[in-house]
Amino acid sequence: MADALLNQLSLTLSVHTSDVFVAPAMSLADRASRALESGVWGAVLYIVIGLVAVLTAVSVLGLVMSYIERKVAGHFQCRLGPMRVGPHGVLQSLADGIKLLFKEGIEPGHGDKVIFIGAPIFSITATILLLAIVPLAPGIQVVDMNVGVVYIAAVSGLGVMGILMGGWSSNNKWSLLGAMRAGAQMISYEVSLTIALLVVVLFSGTLKVSEIIESQQQGWWIWRGHGVAIVAFCLYVIASTAELNRTPFDLPEGESELTGGYHTEYSGLRFSFFFLAEFANLFVFSALAVTFFFGGWLPFHVGNYEGFNSVMDLLPPVISPMFWFGSKCATLIFILMWFRWTFPRLRMDQLMRLEWKVLLPIGFANLILAATVVLTGLYFFPSAT
């Protein structure tokens, strides 16, 4: 019995390693669908490898982002930031990570243990799931489902669950206050976030993330959208800052008000999960903005200006997507950091007022305008085809 199973496994593996993992021209997404079709073991293997890759990506991103954040903050504040651990402090986040790994994990005495332990895992799972759909380069995407935008809207709402669970189970009033703030804030801003993304969905006429990028060959949506896209982008940036719990919307953590907010009682590894999720989310939300508004990995193209476009295409095709995606993403991340180290924090009622009385009406009006633009076909740089 066991032999038979093993045989089947090795057979499937051999078939699919040649089939799924070697063929270079295939996109990862195609490989995924192929793997799913080919049998249970191939699918399992693919999922495992994909998840491990994303998990590694999350930890590496978390470390890199936290280092960059500290350096950027340092230079904003007329100081240097980490300098001593490794050259210019590059190993600082690694040291932080190892330290947190070996730090005592405390569970509050009268807390709800299961939920308490589950919360950070939930939080980081949401990040991993979200990262899975980010297209990093042509074909480098773990899942590319045809309802990608719906998936994004659904999964990004999961993150708040982790925070609510953490705050609730900590048996600490400050944590609870932070969690309640987070719940109210993130669920509210989720609406604006989705509405901002819907504008691009209207423009591109698809929910599939890779196709949204393809639709921007002639020019990124932020240029082609008649200003509607610019408004949508602004809404997206504000709403994603709120989703990320960063200043000026960092009320759930609000150090000077709620000591640590929802993660007051967390220590060691569990705290580092929240920490990682926060920084990886920073990347994910910037990457999504790049995908939806700035053409993802596509170089800067202006429709029908072939000379200009060919200059932009000068980079070799291997580096080009990485360069364009990376530089766009870095710019957005820098802007979000700039926010954080400049603005003070809003108050809870002001925060809610901003969402429900300002952003949401603007978002809806914008959506209707976008629909009009799409119906009349009034894009800039209309595609040649």
Binding site: A73, F76, Q77, C78, R79, K173, W174, L177, T247, P248, D250, L251, G254, E255, S256, E257, L258, T259, W341, T342, F343, P344, R345, L346, R347, M348, D349, Q350
Partner: protein
């Protein structure tokens, strides 16, 4: 006529018992003694309904170091250095308050050079204190960068003062009968340089915080303190002036050489946190004006009127002297029984009296407003507890 002595526990139990509403449940939260925005070890017992503050009971004593008791066993010279550690952000003014009280009591006349230098240092320290307050206010409202900008400029001024004084925080510079040391030869030059450096920085402060919409939203119409309440609750200093009462000892009862300087007393209008913020930022400008006017004509003379004698004896009686620190009126009350140690030494600390304005200011408002309002009071907890 009854006297009832209660305890905190009884008070909390009594306060929690009076609510049986089915819709909401009110609860108590301890803010402090270790809390990032209580600026030390102040503890506030908050009764909350959601995020609204229904009651705010300050609990003190977490840094009560019995300075008044210790002072009864020290001579007047030694008493001065304890005051450094009360309101450490206005240490020179604290030194000066004690020195002034002792000088008035013992009949020591100090020359105008000493008075001028004291005044200049007091004003520099006021700027320094407000710089730190400005940064900490930014931090309390969630902006970390202003804090570091405040510290950056504070260090520049600190260097100037350190050159003469030799210490960074607890200056211990003013003594009964004079000063610890003469001013450094570079002092005048470097203070001028500092003022040249700091005036544009104040505009930068305006760019970063004052003109920020969020800051204005957070501070305007928050923590309104009417002039009547401010006076009744014993507020002095920028808190009182923020409420529109133009009372400043430097103007109304001049000491030092403030009568020679031309300056204005900034006054708020409605007494919200924004007014207190504005008053302090404006005070920095006025302090620079005072320093600039006095700097060029420091009269010649000794920096100590007579040989320092640790056994200063004060005639029997009660002496009360006060001056305006960065936070309000610091009063020094000395009861002497002809010995070289005071029979009773009492400090009327500005923060102690300003603190009680907190509850009338923020009752019914949000926790976040409490933080902003508390920040605008600029409390130094060791000065409250002494």
């Amino acid at each position: 006529m009854t006297v009832e002595v209660s305890s905190l526990k009884e008070l909390v139990e009594q306060a929690s018992g009076d609510d049986r509403s089915p819709d909401t449940q009110e609860y108590f939260v301890n803010m402090g003694p270790q809390h990032p925005s209580t600026h030390g070890v102040l503890r506030l017992v908050l009764k909350l309904d959601g995020e609204r503050v229904l009651r705010c009971i300050p609990v003190l004593g977490y840094i009560h170091r019995s300075i008044e008791k210790i002072s009864e066993h020290m001579n007047y010279m030694n008493c001065v250095h304890l005051t450094d550690r009360m309101d450490y952000l206005s240490s020179i003014m604290n030194n000066w308050a004690v020195s002034k009280a002792v000088e008035e009591a013992a009949g020591i006349e100090v020359n105008s050079r000493i008075q001028t230098i004291r005044t200049i240092f007091a004003e520099l320290e006021r700027i320094q204190s407000h710089q730190l307050w400005w940064g900490v206010l930014g931090m309390d409202l969630g902006a970390f960068t202003p804090f570091l900008y405040g510290i950056r400029d504070r260090e520049v001024l600190n260097d100037v003062m350190e050159e003469t004084v030799g210490a960074r925080l607890t200056m211990n510079y003013v003594l009964p009968g004079g000063l610890m040391a003469d001013i450094h030869p570079n002092f005048v030059h470097r203070v001028k340089e500092f003022i040249k450096y700091f005036r544009p920085k104040l505009d930068e402060y305006d760019d970063l915080l004052t003109n920020n919409v969020i800051i204005q939203e957070r501070l305007r119409n928050v923590g309104i303190l009417s002039p009547q309440t401010a006076v009744q609750y014993g507020a002095t200093g920028p808190v009182l002036r923020g409420s529109g009462v133009a009372f400043d000892l430097r103007k109304d009862h001049p000491y030092g050489v403030y009568d020679q300087a031309d300056f204005e007393v900034p006054v708020g209008t409605i007494g919200d946190s924004w007014d207190r913020y504005w008053v302090r930022v404006e005070e920095m400008r006025q302090s620079m004006n005072i320093v600039e006017q006095l700097l060029d004509n420091i009269p010649p003379g000794d920096f100590l009127v007579k040989k320092l004698n640790s056994k200063i004896k004060i005639p029997e009686g009660r002496y009360y002297s006060q001056l305006e620190t960065a936070r309000g009126i610091l009063g020094v009350f000395i009861v002497s029984d002809k010995k070289d140690e005071p029979y009773r030494m009492h400090y009327r600390s500005p923060n102690f009296n300003n603190l009680w304005c907190l509850e009338p200011m923020i009752k019914g408002d949000y926790i976040a407003s409490l933080i902003g309002a508390m920040s605008s009071l600029d409390l130094v907890i060791p000065d409250i507890d002494r």
